[in-house]
């Protein structure tokens, strides 16, 4: 193994090890404040208390897209600079992004139930998020399909970037498709300007969820780095035992 490959992740591990407790604390505090503000926010004159789902739904929806942006940046890091941490960042982000996307779908559909009378409406936003969710799952399947992480990383990076190019196109076409098939009578959230009473808790929640993502992402990256080290050690062990048994013992193990 080359030590230079591990040097960078090692620094990353020690740095994040110190940083993570503070981040976790900040996340908890901001989320608590956000939840308190959301709980005390006034009811909407039209939607009643159900409007409060928005404080969870919108941050999740925002993160579902933000995480893909983070993965795209990491994908560039993988393809252009071949940085080992970039692979790790991209791989660790995918399941978290998928979770946020899933939560956005669930909260959206729970919100839709009282608004539309059904849990699922082929609404343009929900549909785009659903496709995004499918793409996250595809990406995760791709990561799982390949044993060698660096190989999987490059394939996933290509797909992530293609996805990033394609997502706006998908969003546009789904919007277009939606207006074609549905009259504009459907309820649309956030179309009008949001009152300050809603805006502030929403912003706080968005910051809180973003912090949550950063915390989870760093933790997942640490796990992934450690997992790769275990894999490298196991491979070295396998080779060491193989060469003990083999007839032609190698001269020396390169340091």
């Amino acid at each position: 193994m080359k030590l230079s490959d591990l040097a960078n992740p090692t620094r990353f591990l020690s740095l994040t090890g110190r940083l993570l407790p503070y981040l976790a604390a900040a996340t908890a505090i901001v989320l608590l404040i956000g939840l308190y503000l959301s709980a005390t926010a006034p009811d909407d004159y039209q939607q009643g208390a159900t409007v409060k789902i928005m404080f969870i739904h919108v941050p999740n929806a925002w993160l579902s897209m933000f995480v893909w942006a983070v993965m795209s940046a990491a994908a560039l890091g993988t393809l252009v600079w071949r940085h080992p941490l970039a692979d790790v960042a991209a791989k660790a982000a995918a399941p978290i992004g998928a979770s946020f996307t899933f939560l956005a779908l669930v909260t959206g559909s729970l919100w839709g139930r009282p608004m539309w009378g059904t849990y699922w409406e082929w609404d343009a936003r929900l549909t785009s998020v659903l496709i995004l969710f499918l793409m996250y799952l595809g990406l995760m399947a791709l990561w799982r399909a390949v044993e060698d992480p660096s190989r999987a990383a490059r394939a996933a990076a290509v797909l992530t970037l293609v996805g990033a190019l394609n997502l706006p196109i998908i969003k546009f076409s789904v919007d277009w498709w939606n207006t074609l098939h549905q009259p504009a009578s459907v309820f649309r959230m956030g179309g009008s300007t949001l009152d300050r009473a809603f805006l502030i808790p929403l912003l706080v929640m968005a910051v809180g969820f973003t912090l949550l993502f950063v915390t989870l992402h760093l933790a997942a990256m640490r796990n992934e780095i450690l997992r790769r080290r275990v894999r490298a050690l196991q491979m070295m062990q396998a080779r060491a035992s193989a060469s003990e048994l083999g007839p032609a013992s190698p001269a020396s193990q390169p340091a």
Partner: protein, 222 residues
């Protein structure tokens, strides 16, 4: 240029000979379309209404089915190594292979559409509209699907994974393809708008597809 032409000629020739995938794609297309009435019932009015959608879905699945082997076959017999070592830029070679694939497997779908339109009780105008949209849209399916085919080489695994990765990317093509055909048949929208967007999608895929596929192949050789 002769090198690229040679590659395209070779791929078409292989696709059309015994064991090639071109005719299987058309056969699959036919089978999917024939299966539809069994699922929705032989109501001709309903089939007319669903016609463009059925034809588009069938074409989407058929082109995906045949794309699986686009790079895999060359990878397995070692040709891909030599293609990478050739003097034709890999992006261009990828585009050439995709073009050959479309000529051998995509174009026959367009040609088969009028026959299948009969089965679905589509009138002449509707059939022509669907065939025209397929002509404009199937290149986009081939050129985006090519990315999946290149990934399949990197991953040593095609089939279902390829479908899972590529199908979401082809949603815009499906939307505008079906919308344009329906606009031509029933209105109220003009045919021009969705059709131009469909053409634009194809043009975008001509650029993105070869670059992404070449990047994937280059990084994935082993």
């Amino acid at each position: 240029m002769t090198a690229l032409a040679a590659l395209i000629r070779r791929d078409i020739r292989i696709a059309l000979r015994v064991g090639g995938g071109a005719l299987i794609g058309v056969l699959f297309f036919l089978t999917v379309v024939v299966l539809m009435p069994f699922a929705v019932g032989p109501d001709l009015a309903l089939l007319t209404r669903l016609g463009p959608a059925i034809l588009w879905l069938g074409a989407l699945l058929a082109s995906l089915l045949t794309l699986d082997r686009l790079f895999m076959a060359d990878h397995e017999d070692g040709s891909l190594d030599l293609i990478v070592m050739g003097r034709v830029p890999l992006e261009l070679a990828c585009a050439g292979k995709a073009l050959a694939h479309w000529l051998a497997a995509g174009l026959p779908l367009v040609v088969a559409t009028p026959v299948l339109g009969l089965l679905l009780n589509l009138d002449l105008l509707a059939t022509a509209a669907v065939a025209l949209t397929l002509l404009a849209g199937t290149p986009a399916l081939t050129f985006t699907g090519m990315i999946g085919a290149a990934l399949a080489v990197t991953l040593h695994r095609g089939g279902l994974l390829l479908a899972v990765l590529v199908l979401p990317l082809s949603i815009p093509v499906l939307i505008f393809g079906v919308a344009a055909s329906e606009a031509a048949i029933a209105g109220p929208l003009s045919f021009g708008a969705p059709f131009s967007i469909l053409c634009a999608l194809s043009l975008v895929s001509f650029v993105v597809g070869p670059f992404a596929a070449a990047a994937s192949l280059r990084h994935g050789l082993d």
